[in-house]
Symmetry: C2
Subunit: 420 residues, 2 copies
């Protein structure tokens, strides 16, 4: 990736989500914010999502035409959503006397793999972007998409516009990547579930990554990972208010755990109610089993989430894992085909589950947190079906209809409603 | 332009208009027709317009965002309409087990000038098209657009999808270009106005060109011109019925006039109700005046239609011309600026007019036709404000509210309801 022309003030990348661009009026309001940013004299690159529910509407249209839309065609179809909002944003900027130009992924030089519907950005050739910036233009880039070697359009998967924004910010040496959305920042828990949840002023990449992966829908986890890799600061704020947002960056002491006496280790509570579980019952406990189970799922591009295995005394084990609700059917088909070959007794599934997680650096060095989490859930009679831990999070799979209770109980148990 | 790979059966190009693609169901029906054509073993290229009223809806959206949408952005915005229908057509073909791929103008190698909203195709680089055809695929190309040297998308103006289809047919050496639309062919007059209008089985390019220019909205005049230049046969038929259409081609004796004893010279009656007139009153009758008036209009990309000038006895002349209703305001602004410099007394305009024309080869060699036309209009008390003639047509500008009467009177006066 090349860097910005020298001697220029640092670039700013600003990404607007679909709800911030849902109507002509909102596009004009977003354009006014871009003009404010450009007034600082910094070159500005705007990344846009499709307007409102456009992507869902296009998917619906595709399924009206075909029960199984071809993925290469689906990607080109969906890419029109971002092209529409990019051109409208450019028109709105022109009206505010701000020179601007919209660029598709191909025009912006965003190259990707050719895995349609789940492409990855490979590199960015920003010649056209820099040429337009040198002409004093705000450059608007369609998010969510790249162009393959064959010049086909491939989309980056849901939330891919965040990834486009961060990738551009990193490749072009931007000062910061702004994510403008419909929430004011990152909260200690979902404010719709926990009314006294607090907005955090800053958060480390690792913590944000766990929150993002655990259903905090403000940012796509891939985008957070990419930002961490390049130490790119991200400011998440609302496009509808002037309130200060949340800065995601390398925390002053790094993301390393701080002594628990200094600050609370639990940073926030995440939850995700789109969880299904598959369990392989009484699998022989021998090497190669996990690969036999998960490779076919990976080949089918199914994201497997929490995995938990509990060894039994008789040389067999029950192995459970979670997938999203929409993947359950295909995951069950594939796993049922795998099961006989590895001599599993049978395959069991449930789709009425949720995940609830506590996230924070340094939890592993303070084992009391797990106990406190389990205790709090027990006190509310919430059953835990799978437990999974990492350096900075503990996740419990619970019944979906108890998920919100679980979030509230944990928010209170870890005193997140009090100031740091 | 390169030609088709040798040894292949001749290509067929089929263009579907917006009304033929207005719903998911119609797209599936159109796909079934494409499969029938492909079953002949001939390589098929499909050119699509945007679905139904999509283009108008996108224009409306643009004007909601901006009172004067930037034209470069407007073109990229509008181009998404054809991309949507092209991808849906590809999906529908896949469902019918017909391999297919949709290509944007950039992917299909359709290069154009960078006159946004009114671009012209400059050349076609069909490498990708041929590669996909060799893979046994039906290739779907987005109509109405080209890509400039700077890789920007430019649209070809209204009706441009016809031009795309004919240009591809010519460049790729197709056997024929099919235009599938919502009418069954070319009629002796608009069947909504003249119930006993007849469909003609064949028509020459010149006659079709005049009909197209005069408001017969079946085909865009540019597309007819291009087809004539390359002697490309065009079959116009309905995508909703199996009825035989109208073949536009070089007539057996060429387009040259045939003796009037052999066949009727008037081929059809065309009319256009979107006509406005501008008159420069008492312009000094000296060289250079016409250029002074029309160059600024041409620079502003305003199409001037019928022009008529009547010399007076006092060294001045009244000069009238027609433009489309939507161009009237800008045309008046420009002409009012021109008028003082050429010492015109004043500028007058009217926007409640229509054109009615009789079209047919050989009329100039049979002058009685003009007299018969004026007589028929006079007998119906229809006032003529401008008269203009060419080799194969006579046009009268009449009050808009009498246009349909004029068409019926002329259809009857020239006995077009009788068989040849």
């Amino acid at each position: 990736m090349s860097s910005a022309p020298s001697g220029q003030p640092a670039l700013l990348v600003q990404k607007f989500g679909g709800s911030s661009l849902a109507t002509a009026e909102r596009i004009r309001a977003a354009a006014a914010r871009v003009v404010d940013s450009a007034a600082s004299g910094r070159p500005v690159i705007v990344v846009v999502s499709a307007m409102g529910d456009t992507t869902d509407e296009l998917i619906e249209l595709a399924y009206k035409v075909s029960p199984r839309p071809n993925e290469r065609e689906l990607d080109l179809l969906l890419s029109t959503g971002e092209t529409v909002s990019a051109t409208l944003m450019a028109m709105a900027l022109h009206d505010l006397d701000q020179p601007a130009v919209s660029l598709t992924a191909a025009q912006a030089g965003i190259r990707s793999t050719n895995v349609f519907t789940k492409a990855r950005i490979t590199d960015i050739h920003p010649e056209r972007i820099f040429a337009e910036l040198r002409r004093g233009k705000v450059v608007i880039v369609t998010g969510f998409q790249g162009v393959t070697e064959e010049q086909d359009v491939a989309t980056l998967g849901r939330g891919g516009s965040d990834t486009t924004a961060v990738a551009l910010a990193c490749a072009l040496g931007a000062e910061r990547c702004d994510i403008l959305t419909d929430v004011e920042g990152i909260y200690t828990a979902d404010p719709r579930v926990v009314p006294n949840a607090r907005k955090v002023a800053e958060i480390g990449y690792e913590e944000m990554l766990e929150l993002a992966q655990l259903g905090a829908r403000v940012m796509h986890p891939r985008a957070v990972e990419l930002a961490e890799l390049h130490a790119m600061p991200i400011l998440v704020s609302s496009s509808f208010s002037a309130a200060s947002g949340t800065l995601i960056h390398r925390l002053p002491n790094g993301d390393a755990p701080m002594p628990m006496e200094i600050r609370k280790n639990v940073r926030g509570i995440a939850h995700d109610t789109d969880v299904a579980r598959i369990t392989l019952v009484r699998v022989p406990d021998r090497p190669g089993i996990a690969a036999a189970i998960f490779q076919p799922l990976a080949d089918a591009n199914i994201s497997v989430d929490t995995i938990a295995q509990s060894s039994g005394a008789d040389g067999t084990t029950d192995l459970s894992f979670t997938v999203s609700g929409s993947s359950l059917q295909r995951a069950m088909e594939i796993t049922s085909q795998t099961a006989p070959g590895i001599e599993a007794d049978n395959v069991d599934a449930a789709d009425d589950l949720a995940k609830v997680s506590i996230v924070g650096t340094g939890m592993q060095s303070a084992p009391g947190y797990a106990a406190r989490m389990f205790g709090a859930l027990a006190s509310a009679s919430i059953n835990i079906s799978i437990i999974s831990t990492s350096d900075i999070k503990i996740t419990c799979v619970v019944p979906r209809d108890r998920a919100e209770d679980a979030v509230r109980v944990l928010h209170s148990a870890f005193e997140l409603d009090r100031d740091d």
